[in-house]
Symmetry: C2
Amino acid sequence: MTTEVTRTLARWVVGSKLADIPANVRHSGVCSFLNWMGCAVGGSQHETLDRAIAALAPFSGPGQATILGRNERFDVLHAALLNGISSHVFDFDDTHLKTIIHPAGPIASAVLALSEFMPVTGAELLHAFILGIEVECRIGNAVYPAHYDIGWHITGTAGVFGAAAAAGKLLGLDEQQMVWALGIAGTQSSGFREMFGTMCKSFHPGRAAQNGIASAMLAKQNFTSSNRVLEAPRGFAHVMSVKRDFNEITGELGKVWETALNSYKPFACGIVIHPSIDGCIQLRNEHNLKAEDIAKIDLVVDPLVLELTGKKTPQTGLEGKFSVYHSCAAAIIYGAAGEKEYADAVVRDQRIITLRDKVEAVAKDDIREDEAYLTVTLNDGRVLKKHVEHAIGSLERPMSEAQLVAKFDDLARETLPVAQADALRELCWKLETLKDASELARAAAK
Amino acid sequence: MTTEVTRTLARWVVGSKLADIPANVRHSGVCSFLNWMGCAVGGSQHETLDRAIAALAPFSGPGQATILGRNERFDVLHAALLNGISSHVFDFDDTHLKTIIHPAGPIASAVLALSEFMPVTGAELLHAFILGIEVECRIGNAVYPAHYDIGWHITGTAGVFGAAAAAGKLLGLDEQQMVWALGIAGTQSSGFREMFGTMCKSFHPGRAAQNGIASAMLAKQNFTSSNRVLEAPRGFAHVMSVKRDFNEITGELGKVWETALNSYKPFACGIVIHPSIDGCIQLRNEHNLKAEDIAKIDLVVDPLVLELTGKKTPQTGLEGKFSVYHSCAAAIIYGAAGEKEYADAVVRDQRIITLRDKVEAVAKDDIREDEAYLTVTLNDGRVLKKHVEHAIGSLERPMSEAQLVAKFDDLARETLPVAQADALRELCWKLETLKDASELARAAAK
């Protein structure tokens, strides 16, 4: 079963037709793209972008492609890098829960930039985008969790394969060229989890997008690589993981779709505190809670919550994202935990701090990651309870389209005028029917 | 001893002064640069370059930097990539024997391209080049051989650190920025040995050069990374190796110089067959041997020779490089084993084939890798013997300057007019005194 893994995958990508992809998968693709676009436009003003642009602008080629949410234009490779950074900089993008891959960043950044370089219809872009996600997540499935546990940032390491496959599909690579594209991509697979908390984290999906396009462009010119990058004894799965299951890559191709398993974050913070935030917002809305009425908030949560997000006195917005205490206070006061609720000023607001100090959290081993128990004690003695079985945003309780739209609007309207943001959103929903996919990029320029 | 590894290294690079580097090390640096330049100019017409240029030219920025041996000009990042490919495509570049790193490719390609973008003197270029080699080889020493054995092409994985350090030195990074530059570089460290035998092998040092420059440029703009990319539990040495010795990185900095241990290949093929070739050339010259006079050539060699280069009937030049039989036949007939002796036509020449078929090789376990025993039986019954204790090119028997010059001339004159090749060679020897290092690049343009 370990023969021809790379070739089997390449052959499937080359032969795939959009009509063979079920409607629900195509719809998931559109939702993933919309969510990605909102995150990228929303993140585009971050100083991470400013610094990357200052460093790399002198080396950019012609202004072939849009930097979303900004007025600069760069060559296709640099545009893919920069849009990939924007889309991940808030840690608010999509999640393939089986592998913790954030699938859209490397792929959408690649195909959208390419759509400004060559004729690409919306249907072709959606098709390539979905295939890229399949390649990326299947490769992730094959090596997760050992690969991630060692220290690889799987969004970068698996993402570069997906970006190469998606770009290669748009470029019309033949089977051998697609094999080479995966090989050239794989030999650039990189990115350490050690970089979490620094600007390099969002650099990873951006670089994966950029290197994926370059791999496909090189393969198109018959630049050769190994034919067995995935399965060879000195290839990706053996060198970068102690666990590998190639059946995850080649099994049930075209039958099981990872794209349909993509999920979207309702809250702009680590996924482990989402159940607590969800519970706070539900109780707030059901009982019209005011911060001033609350004596105490008790949480019973998965141990990971305290391990990863146990910061009691965060001082900055970024630290707030690693504080279940701040997150719950913001959820009660604002009824939300979007990017705005993690602004520095919000984290330092005295009303937030007062409520934050009333939150206590206890870990329990037998609680699932997407589960939480909340008890809110009011000053008048009432006790309100909430058991969140599955947090909003989980596969069991996905965000509704209305919630996705609200998230998009929140993010896009921070950067673009409301009318432009709304028009961009509608264009994203129409993705599959667009005659010229590059319209999307132009509609997101400032 | 595992604290502050990255910072200690960065601080040393930032604080280093050229005057602190011993004269013999500076001379090794000049020899390494000359050897690199010859390889790059000689390799510049290879189809690997043609394909990479066809793929990437549409995305290049302004023509800031020279592609050695050619008439194209590209932005600094792409020029570093392409010159890095040229310099490794013949597998004829330098070797740090302790780690099998080919040190110059990632570093020289980076600093030379930068010298066309900003004012850099020859002394500054040489200084940055030597520091880059130190960083690269020290990091290699820390993880070799486990890192290489797993399947990493160490010239790429360690090279990107060296390129970032060298570029960062030229850019005048401060200590914190140098730490970040190493971090950004490290999180891009990549390249599988699985790619050997394909165009991706020479892509590795090129991409390392390119990514190293980008890392330094980003760090100069305060793009952040981990402060502990080398030593952190999820950093380079733990994620990419099962062996690590951080003392190899920070021990005796400025006292032990890896640059002085660099070696140069006299023959354009795998280093394991160099002792046999060396012996053939010595016997040929001592006895004025003619192919027609030879009845039989018997070799006793290290087992690796047969494992790696045991091809009895090579059909192409590339296969010839993996044939100890062809290599010995060419050595007897031409007195050389440069790139020309591995042309397809030479491999298929009947005179070569006839002699090749008279070569027999036997492996013996107790023979060192740089050792060989040769017995040549002549048609007139005479028997000639030669014991090569250390092949030419080894640390014990380094190439003379005259041999380095002959190698350079052979390579450079294949691409450039003789007068231009000679002028370029003289400019390389004067490296340390050049007012403007970019003169070197311009002198190597076609």
